[in-house]
């Protein structure tokens, strides 16, 4: 290999450089501008279809008959029906999330302690069943737990139950817990990573009992992850629509059903009232999301 750029190459380079080289700072700035331009379609579409609708909802929640007013919110305060919707949503969501967390924790903990092949299989299976939600799930549950469902009949014949109403609170709790379970499992499984085996051994050497270890070390370490997962599950349940709609044809009173029925469907449409209810739901969800972000920051989870 010979010496650096020969005179001819240097001359060629010079010739290339002759057309006035743009001042570096100016060029960098116009580069940045072009780059920003590239992102415009992304932000445009996102704004049009995510931000704008939200904006419309917020603004119109404060509009009654074309005028600014708090009438919609007052109506919510007056309506026992709407308040029941909120109550139902919250109870249902908290209930199924708690159940899912308990089952998920037990599951995740046990999963870690069994052999690798079964473990990866169950995790993959969990991944796949997390797609089994909404309308398909509702129909599946009707088959097994509907009035003539296989299991309803089985339990009836065993004398365990008299009649099971899948379409009431109990049934919904069951089906909601079912679709929350894979999510809980997948979120909690890595959290147990935070528990290092050494800790248990170290605690044991220092004289701690099994219970002590769990109470003083394991649970405190796991708590942020547990809470974080609970909150994600909660948000997931609060916003769910398809499952309950498909199962009850929109007859069970939860927030999402109420909102949808006020903007589409056959009866009385009131998009502004729907907006007010929506705003409250979003506030609830935003509150829940913010707490989750804050919890994540506080987690003891080592990377």
């Amino acid at each position: 290999m010979n010496s650096p750029a020969s005179p001819e190459q240097l001359a060629a380079l010079e010739a290339e450089n002759k057309p006035a080289p743009v001042a570096k700072k100016r060029r960098w700035r116009s580069d940045k501008l072009a780059a920003a331009g590239v992102t415009v379609p992304f932000f445009a579409i996102f704004s049009l279809f995510q931000i704008l609708p939200l904006g419309w909802v917020v603004i119109n929640s404060f509009k009654y008959d074309e005028e600014w007013s708090l009438e919609n919110y007052l109506e919510i305060l007056d309506s026992a029906f709407l308040q029941q919707a909120f109550w139902n949503s919250i109870v249902l969501s908290v209930g199924c999330s708690l159940l899912a967390i308990i089952l998920g924790t037990a599951g995740a903990y046990s999963l870690r302690l069994i052999d690798g092949k079964l473990r990866s299989f169950v995790i993959a299976f969990s991944n796949m069943t997390s797609n089994f939600a909404g309308v398909p799930l509702a129909f599946a549950f009707v088959i097994i737990l509907g009035f003539n469902g296989a299991f309803t009949l089985l339990f009836k014949s065993l004398g365990w139950i008299d009649d099971f109403n899948l379409y009431g609170f109990g049934g919904l709790l069951l089906i909601y817990t079912y679709f929350q379970l894979p999510l809980a499992l997948l979120l909690l499984y890595p959290a147990f990573d935070a528990l290092k085996k050494d800790w248990e051994e170290a605690a044991w050497l220092l004289g701690a009992s099994h219970v002590d270890y769990w109470r003083k070390i394991a649970i405190p370490v796991l708590t942020p992850a547990l809470l974080g997962t609970f909150i994600i599950l909660l948000a997931n349940a609060l916003g769910a629509y398809a499952t309950v709609y498909a199962l009850t044809s929109g007859n069970y009173n939860v927030i999402t059903i109420r909102i949808a029925s006020m903007v589409s469907g056959d009866i009385f449409l009131d998009p502004n009232l729907a907006s007010a209810v929506s705003v409250l739901l979003v506030l609830l969800l935003a509150f829940v999301t913010v707490i989750n972000q804050w919890l994540m920051k506080r987690s003891y989870h080592e990377q």
């Binding site: 650096p4 190459q9 001042a23 060029r27 960098w28």
Partner: protein, 338 residues
């Protein structure tokens, strides 16, 4: 005129000034090292030369061309990064060929030059390997080849060896220097390791807080430090203030005295070289360390501490803590520093 000339270069990031008035020139084929502690501005200076940062003021000239405002693609400068920056999705050949393909050379020519590059850095047999399959030293050699095949006017190296272990570092050091000398390639090397600077460079620019505090050959910088910073940075100089200088070796000074550890003898060896030595100093051994070919003593004298280096010869026995010894300083080798 020199090959590379830098005049009045200034760079600041927002309110914090990196350097305000850098001036230097480098001859063709010279190997220059920018040496200094972290934060002294050496990497930023290098990146300004490469065009990866803009300068606020001043100009840079290479071979007579003003390149100050040119994009990095057009400066004819190649750079080796500390993190190697090898493209993970390409094997050795494609990495080395990248810049050549950007120049739209014929594929035959590209392959020919890549082959030359691979041979130059001795990576034969690894051409189809991917970066994650190579060791740190091998990756660095790929990065080097990738730069060299571009036949650049200047080669820049930004602490290329810091991430490697000591043995590889030393062998790569020699390899880089040999290649550079063979190719007569003007090279600027950035490091904070004074041993690297001393062993590789034609000249060293020692930087501190955005300024070049001293420039010169390795020998010049080592034996004639310009000030106490240089003396403290390069080597293991003992620095004596006015009082200590007077008390220990009876020398008047207005500033400080810098004394190299190898300039101090232990009295048990009578100085036979006819040098100009001070009167004996009483001291006790505070600690003794075997550094391989050097034994380093920290001696506690009445007016201060002195570091003394002796070659590890069979005539030396490692003396234990607390032993009282007499020292003599070679007065021809002391230097006054500000």
């Amino acid at each position: 005129m020199s090959y590379v000339e830098v005049n009045n270069l200034a760079k600041a990031f927002g309110d914090s000034k990196v350097f305000a008035d850098i001036n230097f020139s480098i001859s063709q084929g010279e190997f220059v090292t920018l040496l200094g502690p972290s934060g002294c501005g050496k990497s930023t200076l290098l990146r300004c030369l490469a065009g990866l940062e803009t300068v606020d003021h001043g100009n840079i000239t290479v071979g007579g061309d003003d390149i100050t405002d040119l994009a990095p693609q057009r400066r004819g400068i190649a750079m080796v990064f500390q993190s190697y920056a090898l493209f993970p999705n390409m094997n050795v050949i494609d990495n080395i060929a990248f810049g050549l393909r950007m120049q739209k050379l014929s594929e035959d020519e590209v392959q020919r030059r890549v082959k030359e590059g691979v041979e130059l850095v001795e990576l034969n047999g690894r051409e189809s390997h991917y970066p994650h399959q190579l060791s740190g030293g091998q990756r660095q050699r790929v990065a080097l080849a990738r730069s060299l095949v571009m036949k650049p006017r200047i080669l820049l190296l930004d602490e290329p060896l810091s991430a490697l272990d000591a043995r590889i570092r030393r062998s790569l050091r020699e390899q880089i220097r040999l290649i550079q000398q063979d190719l007569q390639l003007t090279t600027i090397f950035v490091t904070h390791d004074q041993e690297e600077a001393l062993t590789m460079s034609d000249r060293i620019f020692l930087m501190n807080e955005g300024q070049i505090v001293q420039s010169g050959t390795a020998e010049e910088i080592y034996t004639e430090p310009a000030d106490s910073f240089v003396a403290g940075f390069i080597g293991n100089y003992n620095l004596l203030d006015q009082q200590q200088a007077k008390a220990l070796i009876d020398v008047e000074t207005n500033h400080q005295l810098a004394i190299r550890p190898e300039s101090i003898l232990i009295r048990t060896m009578s100085p036979s070289d006819g040098g100009n030595y001070s009167a004996p100093i009483q001291a006790t051994v505070k600690s003794s360390m075997l550094l391989g070919n050097v034994i380093r003593y920290r001696m506690e004298a009445e007016h201060g501490e002195l570091v003394v280096d002796l070659l590890n010869r069979s005539s030396e026995r490692l003396v234990s803590r607390g032993t009282a010894l007499e020292l003599q300083v070679n007065l021809d080798e002391i230097r006054e520093v500000a």
